[in-house]
Symmetry: D2
Subunit: 188 residues, 4 copies
Amino acid sequence: MKKLAIVYHSGYGHTAFAAQKVFEGAATVDGIEAKLVAVGGDHVTPWEELKNADALIFGTPTYMGSVSAPFKGFMDESSKVWMGREWKDKVAAGFTVSGSPSGDKQSTLQALSTFALQHGMVWVGYDRMPEVYTGVAPENARNRLGSFSGLMLQAAQTAPDQSFLPGDLASASDFGQRVATLFAKKIR
Amino acid sequence: MKKLAIVYHSGYGHTAFAAQKVFEGAATVDGIEAKLVAVGGDHVTPWEELKNADALIFGTPTYMGSVSAPFKGFMDESSKVWMGREWKDKVAAGFTVSGSPSGDKQSTLQALSTFALQHGMVWVGYDRMPEVYTGVAPENARNRLGSFSGLMLQAAQTAPDQSFLPGDLASASDFGQRVATLFAKKIR
Amino acid sequence: MKKLAIVYHSGYGHTAFAAQKVFEGAATVDGIEAKLVAVGGDHVTPWEELKNADALIFGTPTYMGSVSAPFKGFMDESSKVWMGREWKDKVAAGFTVSGSPSGDKQSTLQALSTFALQHGMVWVGYDRMPEVYTGVAPENARNRLGSFSGLMLQAAQTAPDQSFLPGDLASASDFGQRVATLFAKKIR
Amino acid sequence: MKKLAIVYHSGYGHTAFAAQKVFEGAATVDGIEAKLVAVGGDHVTPWEELKNADALIFGTPTYMGSVSAPFKGFMDESSKVWMGREWKDKVAAGFTVSGSPSGDKQSTLQALSTFALQHGMVWVGYDRMPEVYTGVAPENARNRLGSFSGLMLQAAQTAPDQSFLPGDLASASDFGQRVATLFAKKIR
């Protein structure tokens, strides 16, 4: 079994809800043992567990145009891991959540990929062609927002389980499955 | 009168249509003489005119995650202007059009702002709070996509005059007016 | 007098040392009242003072490819200011310090400019042509690293007052002076 | 044998010279058949050959803060390949050359990675810790500039074979070898 950890910070529960969907998608793939790992705030980062994982998917809200401060705290704490090259050649991917369709989320994905590449990781994006192009209704379409560097999700300011369109939730599990599949089949 | 030029490339007419709306918004501002300047393809860039302008708004489609190749041709041609610092301290802003809500358009705006800042220009973004937050229907909302580094517009693959939501067109003229107003009132 | 605040976080004193040089450059400009404001850690952000400033220069180390977590904490805290549009139309600029010549510092400057543009601020970069091009020795050259979106500085892992090349320190005061001058003369 | 193509545009020969070094590094790896492919200008892009390659390393000068216009022409031309998802799951990496140490080269690497991820490719960076940190003299150090998202090289405005420091050339072959090795050993 290959180990995949979804490492996320959630401020108000929306990113946690999305992380759960990414987890569910990844967990459908044979040979993959997926796990959710919350970081930031009172959470103690399980560094040993992350060291033993083969792939890490990073998730964070977009706050003020980049990753949340608690997630940045996790990133900065990883500088010892960086010095030791513990994550070198592992697979990495990322997703982010904010209130607008675009909402400067690409800036967050760039911060995540720059971070992962500093660690010497291999970056996997979201390959799904926006399904709107093939006639699927926007509310049901996967990759509705049109992002390839990673997964972008839009959440309304309502309770997490009511704040996402069905297509965005389907995108989250699709993305988890894509990363896990590529990882299981193509990357040793 | 201060001179403002909207410098754009359009592949299929959608960016030209958006540029016209940006122009119309800028032209409403007292003391501003706005002008449309198409670049790329067979167009000969009027370098002297750009030198005499006080502000430049750059517009391009997003193709394959960045500015269009013809617009990049214009950017590369400007290296002589760059050497001579002809555009130093002028005002700059940018907009881009693509088919998806996000569609990696932020990457294009970063390319435009990096370019303008290489020239020593001052970069003005789009300050409008997404009107969806205040209850305006998405199709009519200004800054619907939620972009602040510059204006993002989404165009369907239909005829240019039918491919934009009313709110996106209102955003374009609003953006032109914002840049021109800031320029006329605040920046000498 | 126009008010300019240099808002920075420093982890080990290098960014504080650079901020002091930026301050000294800005303070030479007639009509400018410059001030240093440290944020992050135990510092209490003087929000009222920042509201009253006309220009803000942001400074942060580059940690793991972006702004430091304490600086990101400041950015996230500013979301109330963002909602109230308190900083709209103010002038903004940024600088960052890390150990390598490039060191993914552009990613940090992008995070700073994206942040400022979310606030509706006007972004001023560093206009100085790299003086290496005109025959100045690298150790004395201003804008040695070749960055235009903002100021990049390289610091060795020694005491802050011994970690910068003379040209990098000259760049810092030159940058402070450039922002203050443009602000005093051109932007009301 | 796995096929790796180094796809580059060179304006004045410096990027071609660097591409040759990347090629030499890749060619040392068992099981890899490396090839140089020039694009832009009068070159006809061998699309069928690129379709048959398993990995593509993109190389371009940084002009005005992003990829060169001829390289962007190649990127835009690839939109048919993008529609057909021909490059999905292939390995991608990138390098860029300019005159300054930083020189806004990260913006170019972001354009290249955004492009590759639009194609559904997997992005591999440069994992080498800057050797300056371990006491190697700057002129001989690999990853001297400190870039992880891809390879950055600095070239003086002299003849290509005299314009690079020995460490930068060593970085180029090291980078080619790293991508090829990761590809041969880890990614099927």
